[in-house]
Amino acid sequence: MTGKLTIADYPLAETRSSGIRGRRGKSLDEITLAAVLSGDVTMEDLRITPKALADQAEISRSAMRPTLALNFERAAELVDVPQDFIMSVYELLRPGRANDKQKLLDVARAFRKTYKAVCMASFIEEATEVYERRGLFLRGF
């Protein structure tokens, strides 16, 4: 397990400010007020990458917070998933929104096939089982 980040590497912005990069590859060190004013910084430079989220997952694990680490890993998968799709899934996961388990299974498949988001896919599949057991598909709210 060598090479994994630990709590000693935290906060990343301080320990590796040149290694942390935005979506276009610009490092934190390069994102300065001067760069903003000269028009060299775009919103893409201010967005987190799957890599940074995976790094935070390693740090969480090292801090004995494995559940939070899973959360970061799912977040890393979601970076490239369109906002609208995420919001529709979010709505569908509310109790009673999906009338049967197939709707959620379709979502899981879309995550796996279309977005290569395997953690998200199994997360939704797990939710499907729980929703079925708790009767959350049939009850309308």
């Binding site: 935290y10 942390i20 994102i31 007020l33 903003v36 940074a52 935070q56 917070r65 939070l68």
Partner: protein, 368 residues
């Protein structure tokens, strides 16, 4: 708030409170409002008026502001959305209008998004750095462990004191002056001398009473307090006489002196803050008949009872002392600073050897 500051200081229960001095707070608020206005103008979103800005700077809450209406806000939001204004535009606008510090600050906030350090458990940003359960874990293992106030922080906590001064007390009292002047008039009618009428009870008022202090610490207007006492005395067929003493602010002497002047030998002494005594001329200064020392919880009915009891003593009856029930309210800590200043205002007006003056009191605005 004051209570928590005391807990912080005396029990070292650090809640992270460090109050700003008022001028510093006003400076910051002014700069913040100017900065936001500059951004609005620079981005062509709106142009707030001086009155709008000023009302926000000094407001204690949004009810006190004369700023944008919800409809104005909706319009501004709509154009931000339509034109796709981003935080980068805001940073540029700030810098262009000379708010470099604010521009840097805002940039440092959005840069937090890139590393995601702040997404870890219990994260907060202190002085530009992310502190969370990862790099500052909870290491509490029982008494004596965990977070301890550092020596530096301890000294800072000790030095926190919101300054309440005489000027501030007088300023807040002055807010009641006009209302009081519609309810009561005090007129000096000459030197107060020894009375001979056995039906006379003298009420001694303190130097600042109704002069530059207008409320008891319980918030009763002094006119109402005085009227309750006067009416209660008159209700027993006795004659209340009001005398202002300028030689002392001390309750005991404010009570004993009128007792000596009263034909009945019974007097009431009352300070502007509402502390009162019933005294008898043949008693030692501190050996009064009744003491009303809990001014912050003394109600008008208690002052009425005070007047009635003074009348009863003058009629040689054994009065039932007025009992003020307390439920263990911590009055002292809450009122200490104000009371000390009120007393200093009283004594500041005293003159050694000043002769007592008869005061004719006119209660207005209601039937007596």
């Amino acid at each position: 708030m004051e209570d928590f500051l005391v807990l912080q200081r005396d029990f070292e229960a650090d809640g992270g409170l460090t109050p700003l001095p008022e001028p510093r707070a006003i400076d910051l608020r002014t700069r913040a409002v100017d900065a936001i206005s500059a951004v609005f103008e620079e981005l062509g979103l709106s142009k707030p008026t001086t009155d709008m800005k000023q009302s926000v700077i000094v407001a204690s809450g949004s009810d006190e502001t004369r700023s944008y209406t919800p409809r104005d806000v909706a319009g501004i939001s709509e154009s931000i959305k339509e034109r796709g204004v981003s935080v980068i535009d805001v940073i540029k606008a700030l810098a262009k209008r000379g708010f470099k510090e604010e521009a840097e600050n805002l940039l440092s906030v959005v840069k937090l998004r890139v590393s995601g350090d702040y997404l870890q458990t219990s994260a907060m940003v202190r002085d530009g750095r992310v502190v969370s359960a990862v790099n500052d874990p909870n290491d509490y293992q029982g008494p004596g462990s965990g977070y301890r106030v550092s020596e530096e922080r301890r000294l800072e906590l000790n030095s926190i004191c919101d300054v309440l001064d005489q000027k501030e007390v007088l300023r807040s009292e002055a807010l009641h002056e006009q209302d009081e002047s519609r309810r009561i008039q005090y007129r000096v009618v000459g030197e107060a001398t020894q009375g001979t009428d056995a039906k006379e009870v003298v009420i001694g008022i303190s130097p600042a009473f109704g002069f530059n202090l207008f409320q008891t610490t319980a918030g009763h207007s002094l006119s109402a307090v005085l009227k309750n006492m006067v009416d209660a005395i008159a209700a027993r067929g006795l004659k209340p006489r009001i005398v202002r003493f300028m030689h002392t602010g001390d309750t005991s002497f404010l009570g004993l002196s009128p007792a000596k002047l009263a034909g009945s030998g019974v007097g009431i002494g009352i300070q502007a803050k509402g502390t009162a005594v019933i005294h008898s001329r043949d008693r030692l200064p501190h050996n009064n008949l009744e003491l009303f020392s809990n001014a912050p919880i003394t109600k008008l009915e208690h002052y009425k009872g005070l007047g009635a009891n003074a009348a009863a003593y003058a009629l040689d009856e054994m009065a039932q002392p007025v009992v003020m029930s307390t439920r263990g309210e911590a009055m002292g800590a809450r009122c200490h600073a104000r009371v000390a200043l009120i007393y200093a205002i009283e004594t500041g007006l005293t003159k050694e050897g000043a002769v007592p003056q008869n005061i004719e009191v006119l209660f207005m605005g209601e039937k007596s």
